[in-house]
Symmetry: D3
Subunit: 257 residues, 6 copies
């Protein structure tokens, strides 16, 4: 079942997050109990090579591969799909022009201008019929536009109206900086919560997918109630910094002094 | 003899195509009986590092290195030249603005705005006189604009008039999608053949080089008659998928049951 | 079904051969129509890193991963298993001492001295019960000793008697050099064929697996009759050098002069 | 003491230059007697991966990491900062629009639009307080706009007025090509020296940092008098081509004939 | 303070464990709250390149770098020291001959036969006086022999008597397999605990360091009482598999159904 | 002209030395004015992958590729030849047994036991006739045994008598440690010079090649008089540490205070 189908069915999906550009580390992350894995090229260290090789390890673990591209690098949106990503996240989609450029890179004609060449994606998906691929790819890949500034919020209705934009992903840290006019970074900023709820509601109303990156796992329930269904948590540093101290504490506590 | 000189002399050139971003694989491809090797950064997996290192293996085999950049990544056009490419292919040159931006990245002033710094290209070519390099580089490097949409076809005359655009390369799969308004991907689509012939004729009439990517080798003759002289075939997957089954069939057939 | 089970069932298995130490190239090879893929660390360029990452791509294509280690590098035999190989091929097993050292590295106690730590193999196989792994791993991994010298032939009975040696693999090029006392390299040398047949017969008589590297696919039938069941063919260079010229010939022939 | 603080204090800083995209080579360069190391992504071979890993080696040697991005790749300006660079150099800033886009990528709101996510920079700097990072990062990172064309010179006053542009770096080779209208590449071109002095003076007058890439070390004094304080020299090829011949000459001269 | 000095002073040291051969992952692990980091080349994926580059990230975080070599690869013991490791762990030291070969690779003459060439270790330690290095290196590097079989236990007194062996490290999983004659893998096997205590006592009595790999952190106290002072815990998979489920549980629990 | 032929003709050859395991750095070193380049796997960071890829860059610059293997890693001697090395240096050949094992790995039967499979060396040399390769390879590849201990000196006559050992290479740093019984590291130690001269004389008398690693280039003449003809100087760190300070000094001196 594709990620698009899962979300279409209303399922909640948790995505792991990977910042380390190394295929073996990605394979490890893909073995964790998440349904999807996002390779981060914006703030994480992923790049063309690590995305290409990392997607292999994600598929080996039968998880859904997602890629976040750097700001404005729509060339990479197409490439991520050619490498086998099921979803691409574009940061800082602050205008309808940004949204259109992103959609153009994500969808084959006539919806967009994506160029033909699924060199890695087709064999990795076990498919070999090009014509069938052309006919189904647009529906089976997801374009998430990140909404993380006041401009983006203002443009939201127009962004959601762009054919080829399949959903939005909220970046709460940047949104908090924007909401506080640069004064505060706080992914749980109470002031901005109503705006975040509005984003979810408008997105759902437009028949599209609402996703959010979550720093504090305890907030997932609240976002779920707002209408979000895809939740990204991580990355490697967070998993390790949660797990290793627990192990070290148990070790140190066991020593009697 | 440079690739530019070969094409100027009217020679037919076959280029291998490489999708695997690995210098050792490129060295292997460069050992095949093609005259040039194209490293594909658009639909193939090549990236800055694999292009830098791959060109070494191409030159070791005395073949002509070419690079296809991702859509709109004109920064990479300059970099490919600095790394030692003799030709750069830019996909989706759909307007004269695209063509001018591409030419600007490919040519030193006053033709373009290419910045000085042939850090790898000069030593790899065995040259050390910077002034001579400046004076000859524009003529010895080839900018191929890809014509693969209806917009590109409409803009062709203007594109060909841009100083610094040395030729066009037709992408028949994308062109078939465009020609069928998104309905069909078929690199041998009969309907579009007259348009492809027009591209070749206009290009030759403008005194520039006509190139084409070819999926079915049997079509090369037809394209040659149209006026194309550079033919790209491949990539690694195609060579292996042609060769390995032949070996396996011979092996299986030799077993008596 | 494991490779061991397949061979136990008397199936003929064809293994692709990979010399290029690059995980993406291996993934491509693994997509060809072979049942297994051997990563060659002796004459090929594979190394610890490429084996670790390459096995991922082989498993992604549901093929059986095999590794040929360098001469005498039995430390690597254990490591290949820890990385997920189902079979390991040790070259130049010329004495019963060599065979014992190889078996020791391949099998957990009490058969051998393999150290515990299937860090990558267990998660890649989808298993998580260490005790079950310990109890089944020895039977599900295959140790192939290469027989490729006169000394090896003399020691064959003793080698086959070593607990933990599961089969032999004949290297016909080296065997031809040995057979001709250094005068000839000819993997089809007629003189040595009776000796090769003897190897197959003794191996089968000992209840073990007979494998052979085959340069000319047409010889597979003959080796099959001798009793060999695993046939290795390749590597990348061979597939490409078979496939690319066929494509180029079709292209050149299509041009009318 | 940060690089920004050093320059603020009027110190002269010498930066090594690295073209080889390899973290171990960068570590070696960082061990030389320079105060900073610049990783060059424009004409050098550096890329996302080598910058991420290279900065580690620079910090290990307690030097200041700088990155030159490719033309127009402002997405990479933000990424370089996230990886731990203290300064970013943008080539071909030829207009105030270029300068604004560069500043936007370099500075957090409200000055710019830099997105939040110092995944590698924060741990590498030994800091963990996000809010403090947000409040100090803009002042502690340096945006150098390259002035290397006649257009850039014309736009200089406006560029220097952009909030978030902290200084300029002159590229004398490109500037000589521009100054000679494409006729000459000569980083010591006498004709252009008054213009270069003007750049330094205007930059200093605007309270910003004047930097220059220097091919002939003997010119540093002259540039210093003009007002430049950061001098980049190199890269690896230059250091080796200066050092190895000296060693070889000593060796050859020691042989008596 | 060197690791040797710390252990000499009777301090308890916790070492992280790394299996992923990637310098950026190692840098992340080195940022966790352990005092040392061990790069595992036996069951982990580390290799020459990842050890060389990984040690940089460990030193950047001011932790003590340790390396576990593959079985019998004493060439790598010397190389690990040349790359900057402070301690090397050799697995399967089952005889006094093994111990002598290990010590020979670890110590400069006259104690051993380590060859001169600290190409990376010296600059990484900030030292430049070769003679001083020669005089102090043997005391400042630690050779840990792994005791994990019955043979090793029998040979323990002799192993401990070898000049150049500085301590032992117990591998409890392998030891449990040995102790149960291949029937069980259980790093907490009660039956073997007296033998493990004996190892610690003899080691301490010989004036050497007792170290142990610990699967269950809760056992550290017990091993500490036996006399062990260096405890290795991990690796990346363990940290993530401890941390990610905790985050996911918090996330899932927060959703109200 | 092969390196073997050059040395046979009595030419003096200077070899660069490379410690950085990176193909692009090797290509740079290969562009310096040395006749050969040695990739160091013992004290340098080179490994299987960097040797494979580095040799490409050496051949691109038409220099002679040499490889120094780690202590006792004779499997790698064969592999280096398969990758295209013309000479292999084995460190710590301290006995005739070591020499025989080394020769066995270096030479095809009947001289040695080198296994067939010049997968990379043949295409890189432009040759394709296997039988001719078999007949000429032993003469065209050079096995250098390092003489760097008192044991090695004692065994020298026997080592030189081994068929397949083509020369010796003196490591003066290790030899000084040995000569001083571990007290001093001094590659110019006066006391040992007569012994070094003896090595050269015996080697020449045996009709074999005398080579030496030289730290102080000024000593080359003296070693040349002793009979040495291949001189290794370097590596990258040395070239840079000679060149960069010269550039920095010129820069600093040019500033008037």
């Amino acid at each position: 079942m594709s990620l698009a189908a899962l979300l279409e069915a209303g399922e909640s999906v948790f995505s792991a997050w990977s910042s380390i550009p190394d295929s073996q580390t990605v394979e490890l992350v893909a073995g964790l109990d998440f349904g999807a894995v996002t390779l981060d090229m914006q703030h994480g260290g992923h790049h063309e090579d690590s995305v290409l090789r990392g997607i292999g390890g994600i598929r080996l673990n039968r998880k859904h591969p997602m890629v976040r591209i750097p700001v404005g690098r729509f060339d990479m949106a197409s490439r991520a799909l050619d490498m086998g990503a099921e979803a691409v996240i574009a940061p800082m989609v602050n205008s309808v022009q940004d949204a259109r450029a992103f959609a153009a890179a994500m969808k084959y004609p006539p919806t967009g201008l994506r160029s033909w060449g699924p060199s890695f994606a087709m064999p990795r998906s076990g498919k070999s019929d090009g014509q069938a691929w052309l006919e189904t790819a647009n529906a089976e890949t997801i374009a998430f536009a990140m909404i993380e500034t006041r401009q983006a919020l203002s443009a939201l209705d127009d962004v959601l109206a762009v054919d080829g934009i399949d959903g939005v992903l909220v970046g709460p840290s940047d949104f908090s900086i924007a909401w506080s006019n640069g004064r505060t970074v706080d992914p749980a900023l109470e002031d901005m919560m109503p705006a975040i709820e509005t984003i979810a509601q408008k997105t759902r109303a437009a028949g599209k997918h609402a996703a959010i990156y979550v720093v504090d796992p305890g907030l997932v329930g609240r976002f779920h109630e707002m209408g979000f269904r895809l939740f990204a948590l991580g990355a490697e540093a967070a998993y390790m910094q949660e797990g290793a101290p627990a192990m070290l504490k148990a070790a140190r506590d066991s020593i009697k002094f």
